[in-house]
Symmetry: C2
Subunit: 355 residues, 2 copies
Amino acid sequence: MKKQPGKPVTLAHIAAAAGVTPMTVSRVINESGYVNAATRERVRRVAREMNYRRNGLARGLKRQRTETIGLVLGDIANPFAAELSRGVREILEQRGYTLFICISEHSAKEDVQAFDSLADHRVDGVIVATRASRLGNERLQELIDAGIPVSLIGRDFRHPHADLVTADNLKGGYEATTHLIKLGHRRIGFIGVSLTKSVGLRRFQGYLEALNEHGLLIDEKLIVGNRDGNDQMPGYSTEEMGHDGMTKLLSMKKRPTAIFARNDFTAVGALNAIQQAGLSVPRDVGVVGYDDIPLASHTSPPLTTVRQPTREQGRVAAEFLLRRIEDGHDRPRAEQVFDCQLVVRESTKSDRIKS
Amino acid sequence: MKKQPGKPVTLAHIAAAAGVTPMTVSRVINESGYVNAATRERVRRVAREMNYRRNGLARGLKRQRTETIGLVLGDIANPFAAELSRGVREILEQRGYTLFICISEHSAKEDVQAFDSLADHRVDGVIVATRASRLGNERLQELIDAGIPVSLIGRDFRHPHADLVTADNLKGGYEATTHLIKLGHRRIGFIGVSLTKSVGLRRFQGYLEALNEHGLLIDEKLIVGNRDGNDQMPGYSTEEMGHDGMTKLLSMKKRPTAIFARNDFTAVGALNAIQQAGLSVPRDVGVVGYDDIPLASHTSPPLTTVRQPTREQGRVAAEFLLRRIEDGHDRPRAEQVFDCQLVVRESTKSDRIKS
DNA sequence: CTGTTAGCGCCTTCAT
DNA sequence: ATGAAGGCGCTAACAG
């Protein structure tokens, strides 16, 4: 048993070099079972000298688990996704799991590819934080039925054996809009509707409900975004949507006195469009965003927004998943809905509304 | 061979159900070798009905490759990292590889963990885009020596058998600073020095060289940041550093007339600090950032910055890696340095400098 | 404390 | 066009 140059070192190589069997080496590497102290040291030394790396494929194949979790994200350039993954990692790390992230760039096809890759490589479970799609949901269904533990974050999909974590975006949208109404605004615009993103849709519904409940008419002309369902654009470029949408709203004969943007990036784009038009926030137009990204407190003026406990959602999703991995596929689904919190800053601190 | 509920379906299960041997099923699944058309259809149907998913561990173990690439990123909430990963994915996808991303949160320890996880799970190669550290470099060295193909992006580490892609940050910093000097600025601040991030360090060196070469004195008081080397903060929160650094600079008796920020987030923070102080950009203070993130063209005023071909760097790193995987470990190292490009926008469009 | 046996699920090779 | 044998590298279970 001589090591070939180029081929990876195996337990057998080390065993031969140390004059023991592969099993003993395995015990040393995994620190399991009894091994004579002297033998252990010798094996350790040889393994180190030969630059041994264990083969996770063989190990996983034998043990039927890989201590590995997959996370599917739609968009990597996104403070929300980042914060989520931090929460997930926090939990996984302390439980000894490794996290592999797959990006689907908001495409259903790549979503499916990500699921397949992770399932094929036998991760012990998958956390899915991409938005729903017919294709994606179908494959997800298959995965779960095949017994792969799945935990969902903010994805509009239910299955009796998949856990779900969401934020109450409807209520968040409702509160953001109500905040503007209470400040005296009567013509409130919405920037960033899209028919495919369920999360944004919820926020929009909250906006509609608030208007309704306060007896305000819904004016379609105050609602902008890409409503044709064609929104392949990555999340971060919504600054552009905010900018363009706001510019459009400002060109109206009776422009809105305030706007609610579907997320903070959109709001920042709107902020700049307003300032470029020579108007002032919040004096001429009040602005509310959503997500409370780090930038939100550093814009000028600082942005009123709705905060959701993002990291906590990641943590809980990870905990749900680990529990499911331990308890097995039959565990009934857990669901947790998190409250959102309005964060009032300067961008709505208006005391007189121009009508 | 009856399928146990709960256990995954294997080739053997399908073979039994379809009345063939596992080998035939394997040929159908992989579309390799001759299989009778009728048999093929039958096997396909059974596989579909049983919701078969191939076991990538067994497959990889046998074939000695997984068609899988690992990407190690320091910070996920970062347009730069996002753009990089898009470039990488573009190439990998068309070549049939799957990408798994690991995040190290800018910690050397987690960097090493990521390397180990990926190596253990036998990815075919690793792309590393985290900043250098002693620990990380040591382990990287071991990986490469063990024969794992490695491609580096913007990481200050050289090895005869690892490829490297970088942007010329020194030149970029030099040109950004020279731009300000040519506009007439004489007191130019730098925000965001840190002794550990080599990339930022290069930009800073460019700043120093430009000052030197134009006969300007270097004023230490104009240089702010966390110089104690203690910068565990994630990249995106550098808005805070920009804000705080700028505030500090503005409180000086002779404040700078322009600043160069180590990246766009820092610059945005500075922008807002300036405006909160009641001053105007570029009239009172000119601002230059670095990276040309999408936000940069949507700030008010739009931000002058330095663009690097980020996605292209990802593409080239991926191409280097694939070539190395094909050619084997002995392939000599490839290195490509990309030029950066100054993008002039409103934040430096000053025609009169207040001194 | 250490070794032997066997098999995880798949695919390469050779045989039919 | 299909099957049989064997082994990738590792470890559970049992034997000594």
